[in-house]
């Protein structure tokens, strides 16, 4: 494998992208139960609110954040001639993603631990 920051960002983008697409269909299946009324909805929602899913949700949030920030990076590269700053841009994406991930993930983690 030819390893560069670009390759690393590409693999992360692919993995998070496929994971999010698969999640989208699961998400629609859960929300779609509203067609069968409130009881069915709450029941199906309960199955995806077990502690395991709480932690998966944090991973999901991280995936969304990384994919979004990396997408912004690609838009910047597309519209401005900034290829020479490619490494700095990659590290900037990682830093922003981690900060946003903590901002969003920490309350989720505390909530999952304290129970709700």
């Amino acid at each position: 494998m030819y390893k560069t920051t670009g390759f690393f960002s590409f693999v992360l983008r692919r993995v998070t992208g496929v994971a999010l697409a698969l999640y989208l269909f699961l998400h629609m299946w859960v929300i779609g139960s509203v067609n069968q009324g409130a009881e069915a909805f709450d029941a199906r929602l309960a199955t995806v609110q077990s502690p395991l899913f709480k932690f998966l949700e944090i991973a999901l949030l991280a995936a969304v954040i990384y994919h979004a920030i990396d997408g912004i990076r690609l838009l910047i590269v597309h519209y401005f001639d900034v290829a020479e700053y490619r490494k700095s841009l990659f590290y900037a994406v990682m830093v922003v993603s981690v900060l946003l991930g903590i901002a969003g993930g920490l309350p989720m983690l505390l909530f999952a631990i304290n129970g709700g």
Binding site: Y2, T4, G6, F7, F10, R13, L74, V77, A83, R86
Partner: protein
């Protein structure tokens, strides 16, 4: 070989593969004495002359212009003729030299570049002049010439093509080298088949297959920028009709 400075020993670890004897490539270590001026190519030549006559690699000009000696040094594609051994030694005083990745190995450092040249041919890398060629010379503005400068410097060494993750997965992809050359011809105001070229590079194997991984820029020994050329091609492909019309207008005043 120049002999200024102190000489020291370095270990060159080389990936060997002989299709007649070996099942798969393996690494072999050679110890050579190097001065600060010794290039990696010098070291390879010395190994071939004094230690292992079977070592096979391509090289020609030794001045970083023929594009024969592109190899993978410590995981990065580069020309070996303009890289000094000392600059690439790792902490253990070792250099690892492999053939260009993702291409079929013929023997040792020699790889099969068929797909590389096929994709190059595909984009018609020559100039197709308009029918009414002026009697004197074509007149281009300095800005137009500047846009072409980058791609003109390409020496077709294959470092970018072999570094690209997309070509690793899919040999139908046109590849950074050919897209860079395509952008040269498409932006050339003297060229008359702009439409045909833009259709080709906006196809399923063209510029949109690029995922902006930047490996081509990291690999290029001439510091060219195929990624930006591909981004330019994408922009031009999206306004193809307008661009082709503008070209026809431009050619009236060449």
């Amino acid at each position: 070989m120049a002999t200024n400075g102190t000489s020291k020993t370095a270990v060159i670890r080389i990936q060997k593969f002989n299709p007649d004897k070996d099942k798969k490539p393996y690494l072999k270590e050679y110890t050579v004495t190097v001065t600060p001026d010794t290039t990696i190519l010098d070291a390879l030549e010395e190994i071939k002359a004094t230690q292992d006559g079977t070592l096979t690699f391509r090289r020609s000009c030794r001045h970083a212009i023929c594009g024969s000696c592109a190899m993978n040094v410590n995981g990065h594609n580069t020309l070996v003729c303009n890289q000094r051994v000392n600059a690439h030694l790792d902490k253990k005083g070792m250099i690892t030299v492999r053939p260009l990745p993702y291409l079929p190995i013929v023997k040792d450092m020699v790889v099969d570049r068929t797909s590389f040249w096929d994709q190059y041919q595909r984009i018609k890398p020559w100039l197709v002049p308009p029918e009414d060629v002026p009697e004197t010379e074509f007149r281009m503005t300095p800005e137009e010439v500047k846009a072409l400068n980058d791609a003109e410097k390409c020496i077709m060494c294959g470092a970018c093509y072999s570094a690209c993750t997309v070509t690793a997965m899919n040999k139908s992809y046109i590849g950074p080298h050919a897209l860079l050359k395509a952008s040269l011809r498409i932006q050339d105001p003297r060229d008359s088949i702009t439409d045909e070229r833009l259709v080709e590079i906006s196809g399923a194997d063209g510029a949109y297959r690029c995922h902006t991984i930047f490996n081509c820029i990291d690999a290029c020994p001439k510091n060219l920028n195929p990624t930006q050329a591909i981004e330019t091609l994408r922009k031009l492909a999206q306004k193809r009709a307008a661009y082709v019309d503008a070209r026809k207008e431009r050619q009236k005043t060449l």
